[in-house]
């Protein structure tokens, strides 16, 4: 019995096929698990282990290393406020405090209605619009307390659903392409191309 829905299972199998080695699909597949469930569940860990040729312990141990993977349930919206140096100089810690009050949850916690999880993040690489706020890893560019409150109102009302998908959905553009060629055939092609180049070089040298 698959933990992944049929369509998610199919995408997971496509991911495995993209890489020279199965285990390389680990990180994208963990993102995929979060897309289905909002966080990385035990069931997903079992299935990812099977798909990547690893053990559940290896999957869990890998997932635990990375900040973006949540092994416990989180809100529909994970709100990240940066307080690293560029944002600090723009009042990032004040905005984080304000966010905590507005959302009614501590940093690292989830609001009572289960809608929001608040995180203090490290630099999110958008320092010209500081302090930086991301919701589900989408830049929302709200730098003031008033703008933050408006953002929360808009999110609650579902007005940003198109821009900010539920937590876990990271890349909505599907890969389309690939070489679709056997490795041996590709090697033979490369060898032929090299021989042709060498012949061309020899001709040009004359």
């Amino acid at each position: 019995m698959s933990h992944f829905r049929a369509d998610v299972r199919q995408r997971a199998e496509e991911l495995v096929a993209v890489y020279p080695r199965r285990r390389s699909a680990m990180l994208p597949m963990l993102h995929l698990a979060q897309e289905q469930d909002g966080y990385v569940t035990d069931g997903a860990i079992e299935e990812i282990a099977e798909l990547t040729g690893t053990t559940p312990a290896e999957v869990r141990g890998t997932a635990a290393f990375y900040d973006m993977f949540h092994l416990e349930p989180v809100g529909r919206y994970v709100v990240g406020v940066c307080t690293n140096v560029a944002c600090l100089l723009a009042g990032g810690d004040d905005l984080l405090e304000h966010a905590s009050r507005t959302l009614g949850c501590a940093v690292g916690g989830t609001s009572d209605d289960g809608l929001f999880t608040l995180e203090e993040t490290e630099c999110l690489a958008d320092c010209n619009i500081a302090p930086v706020v991301q919701v589900n890893h989408r830049y929302v560019r709200t730098t003031t307390p008033d703008a933050f409150d408006q953002l929360v109102t808009d999110l609650r009302a579902g007005r940003l659903d198109g821009d900010v998908p539920p937590h876990g959905t990271l890349i909505r553009v599907r890969r389309n392409g690939g070489l679709r060629v056997e490795r041996d055939e590709l090697s033979a092609e490369r060898a032929a191309a090299r021989a042709a180049r060498e012949a061309r070089a020899a001709t040009e040298a004359k």
Partner: protein
């Protein structure tokens, strides 16, 4: 006076709101560099890059051409693009992947052709959700356009590019750690030697790892020639570079300007660039190249923006990110926050970094928030010395990777430049600015 005559090499499409689309890219010379490259011998393409004297734009500033020449001969080899941009206050790759993804993709295809690699990976930090979507779309469009895949533009060269998302770990910007992440593991940097993935990289095969901005320069270099690129800038710092300016300035942003011909003062004060400090306040200190770099005082504002010029003064141009602190900035608070960052992001493999970063963070915290002692100042320096003995620049290393020895940079800078502030914190029982 800032020198702003140089061509925009990687940010030439900044005026277009649709700069990320294939249509706009093709209308502005897109994929012409690749078409030209495919008519050349791969070695000739590599020679152009060598002639350009393009220093890697990731942070270490290693010459791209030389990195390529070290690639071990092997039937299988890989090209990996490092787009894990996480050095605090660095946001130029973010700009490039969102605003000009085709330029990156074209650069990757050119590099792959020069290296004769048929499999490339673009590793982007997971927090770049929009960037990941834009680059994946660009890759898809490139396939449809014939610029990627089997027999590119009718040539005998084939290439696949996989866009790979990271998942939130600063350490994955270190190239061997990035390779581990790409192999589906924890991002632990690998023990050196071998020093270079060009010898042993992804799956143990030879691998070139290049930064996003480095790759984005390649279409222009191939189109205009390496010599035209090398004619810009001066000394070892050839070309233009993206500088990410942030902190207490009127116009923070990403600016592409010629290296060496411009100074930090130009970047901070020119009306077309930083536009000066907020409220015309004096600069108290600035970070010249990411938070791993030692800080400079205002007396070094006239230093040229060049790798060797900055290196000679005991810091680094690093990732090209400049953070300006004015007289409203508490240097203890700034250094504490940077230390907290390193403490959070240490991967935990090496004791000096794992333990040291936490100890330093707690001491810095108590100085800033109350409970600090006068002797903490020397204790901080002593601990820093245990991580990077001698506190020299470039730092000595007691750890597998350079994250550890980067931790002391901000603390030592802040204490050297602002010891009185530290003492005031100890006497006051916390930050006097609060």
């Amino acid at each position: 006076m800032a020198s702003l005559d140089a061509p925009r090499i990687v940010s030439s499409r900044s005026e277009f709101t649709d700069s990320f689309t294939l249509t706009r890219y093709l209308a502005t010379g897109g994929y012409e560099g690749l078409r030209k490259a495919l008519t050349m011998f791969p070695e000739a393409v590599a020679a152009e890059v060598d002639a350009a004297s393009l220093l890697g734009r990731g942070g270490a500033g290693f010459p791209a051409g030389r990195k390529w020449s070290m690639l071990r001969k092997s039937p299988v080899s890989y090209l990996v693009v490092n787009g894990d941009e996480s050095e605090p206050a660095t946001f130029k790759d973010h700009y490039l992947v969102e605003r000009d993804p085709h330029q990156l993709v074209e650069g990757v295809i050119i590099a792959a052709y020069a290296l004769q690699v048929t499999q490339a990976f673009i590793f982007l930090r997971g927090e770049f959700a929009l960037g990941l979507e834009r680059v994946q779309q660009a890759v898809n469009d490139a396939y449809d356009h014939g610029a990627l895949g089997r027999k590119i533009f009718g040539s005998d060269f084939s290439l696949d590019i996989v866009v790979h998302p990271g998942a939130g770990a600063y350490i994955c910007g270190e190239e061997t750690s990035l390779i581990e992440a790409l192999e589906g593991k924890r991002g632990f940097p690998r023990i050196k030697p071998p020093f270079f993935p060009a010898v042993t990289g992804l799956y143990g095969e030879p691998t070139v790892v290049n930064n996003v901005e480095t790759m984005s320069n390649l279409p222009w270099i191939v189109t205009h020639g390496g010599a035209a690129f090398a004619a810009l800038g001066a000394g070892r710092s050839a070309g233009t570079r993206l500088f990410a300016l942030s902190g207490r300035v009127n116009r923070p942003g990403v600016y592409e300007i010629e290296m060496v011909k411009n100074t930090f003062r130009d970047l901070v004060y020119d009306p077309a660039l930083g536009g000066g400090v907020i409220g015309d306040r004096p600069v108290r200190a600035f970070i010249p190249g990411g938070v791993s770099a030692p800080w400079f005082g205002p007396e070094l504002l006239d230093l040229p923006l060049g790798q060797d010029e900055v290196g000679a003064q005991g810091s680094m141009l690093g990732s090209g990110s400049v953070v300006v602190m004015d007289d409203t900035t508490c240097p203890v608070r700034a250094a504490w926050r940077i230390t907290k960052f390193f403490s959070r992001e240490s991967c935990g493999q090496c004791t000096p970094c794992r333990e040291g970063s936490g100890w330093l963070e707690r001491i810095m915290y108590r100085l800033e928030h109350g409970g600090g002692r006068v002797e903490d100042v020397d204790l901080l320096l002593d601990l820093c010395d245990n991580i990077a003995p001698g506190l020299t620049w470039p730092p000595a290393q007691t750890t597998i990777c350079v994250l550890g020895p980067s931790i002391p940079s901000s603390i030592k800078s802040a204490i050297t430049m602002f010891r009185d502030d530290f003492l005031a914190h100890a006497h006051h029982g916390g930050c006097p600015h609060d």
